[in-house]
């Protein structure tokens, strides 16, 4: 089949006010408006959301899993970034 591929969009939904939009899946659509409609039909048939974002999948830049150690390992050796690293006398109370 020599059909033109339908662009891919990633779908993010805000489940309730106060929550962030969360990735739920993807849809194919010709433009943003149709992607929103397709996302609504595909991912919100049971009141799953109050707001939808659709983003062209091609616009997302992802980190390479092979770089996982280089990117994230250094934080493992920095316990001083956590509150429990520091001692506060008990009589001082909650801090």
């Amino acid at each position: 089949m020599s059909e033109t591929p339908m662009p891919l969009w990633e779908v993010f939904i805000r489940a309730r006010t106060g929550l962030a939009h969360r990735h739920v899946g993807s849809v194919h659509a010709a433009d943003a408006e149709m992607a929103l409609q397709a996302a609504r039909d595909t991912y919100t048939r049971r009141g799953e959301g109050l707001s939808i974002w659709v983003v062209p999948a091609a616009a997302i830049t992802a980190s390479d899993p092979a770089d996982k150690d280089m990117l994230f390992e250094p934080t493992a050796s920095k316990p001083y970034r956590h509150p429990t690293f520091y001692t506060v006398p008990e009589e001082v109370g909650h801090m």
């Binding site: 339908m6 993807s26 010709a30 595909t42 048939r45 899993p65």
Partner: protein, 335 residues
């Protein structure tokens, strides 16, 4: 729904991969880590998943046809609304699954093409006709019941996007089985003719539902690799037995009988023992010679062909709008 794809052997052996990477991959699997789209994975793992997930997606899409057959003839508005919602769910499930398969590097167009050309398989169950309204009850109760049995372990499958799609699907699927059982219950409490209709539907769907779990373990050695990779977590026979044990008491509650003279309860093991399955029929249906194989594929091909102009028009309209926006931006820049 359907793990029948896992019963096919992969043409290439795992041995072609670099052993160190393979071992590390297996360690991740054994540690119950999820594999994500950009992670390294053996080529055979990728192929097995593409085949499995896309066959599952095709099954959802083709599965809309036998039930869609009854939407306009549902006996009440309540039944019609429920059936319409169920068929919409099947469509949605197909789309979640296509999207999960696409994360493995195959395009939607390729997947659809594989279904329409007959290269890809879908669950054998959808090649049986829905002759009466009771069939809608039997499908919900038995076919969706079998699907749930198959799908719940897939929520823990090792490939992340597939597992996440399955969690959504399982949440939505429970209503499908309950509405089917309710239809059966209503018919069984109705007139003798209505009860006979329910019995006839059970008689026709029982064996095909048992076949949905795929060939017996003794004949499907290929599941071993899928179990090692934790794509699949139970064997065909284990799942089939679970389904029979859960379903027989439900059928007896309806006051119906099962079309199996050998069906009996084994008090020692606590299992319902069932008679021999006609695997020749299963192979025939899978090979394309079931009662509705041609009709189902023709319906999908027609729908795809008749929708082609809509897809073309939508793309042309999007291109035109992009062009106009670019032109307007140029003019503003020039002024």
């Amino acid at each position: 729904m359907y793990t029948q794809a896992l019963n096919q052997a992969d043409p290439e052996t795992v041995a072609t991969e670099e052993p160190g990477r393979l071992a590390r991959f297996q360690e991740r699997i054994d540690a119950e880590e999820r594999i994500e789209p950009n992670d390294w994975m053996p080529a055979a793992y990728r192929r097995t998943l593409i085949r499995q997930i896309s066959q599952h997606a095709h099954s959802e899409i083709v599965g809309m046809l036998p039930e869609g057959n009854w939407i306009t003839r549902a006996p009440s508005l309540r039944r019609k609304a429920a059936l319409l919602a169920k068929v919409q769910d099947e469509g949605g499930h197909g789309l979640y699954l296509y999207a999960a398969a696409e994360t493995l590097g195959v395009t939607r167009e390729e997947l659809v093409d594989q279904l329409l050309s007959g290269a890809a398989k879908y669950s054998s169950i959808f090649n049986y006709p829905t002759l009466t309204w009771a069939d809608i009850g039997a499908i919900g109760w038995l076919v969706d019941g079998a699907a749930i049995m198959n799908q719940i372990p897939l929520c823990r499958t090792s490939y992340g996007p597939y597992a996440r799609a399955m969690i959504r699907i399982c949440k939505e699927e429970s209503f499908h089985q309950r509405q089917g059982y309710e239809i059966m219950l209503t018919l069984c409490r109705g007139t003798p003719e209505q009860k006979a209709m329910a019995q006839d539907a059970l008689n026709r769907w029982w064996w095909p539902a048992l076949m949905m779990f795929g060939p017996p373990d003794s004949e499907s050695q290929h599941t071993a690799q899928s179990m090692r990779w934790k794509i699949k977590r139970f064997t065909n026979d284990e799942l089939r037995q679970k389904f029979v044990d859960a379903t027989v008491p439900q059928g007896l509650h309806l006051g119906l009988t099962f079309p199996d003279p050998d069906l009996r309860f084994d008090p020692e093991t606590g299992h319902w023992r069932f008679g021999a399955i006609d695997w020749e029929e299963f192979r025939r249906v899978l090979a394309g010679h079931g009662p509705c194989n041609r009709e189902r594929l023709e319906a999908r091909r027609r729908a795809h062909a008749e929708g082609a102009w809509v897809r073309e028009a939508a793309l042309a309209n999007a291109a035109k709008r992009r062009q106009r926006a670019a032109y307007a931006a140029q003019r503003i820049a020039a002024e």
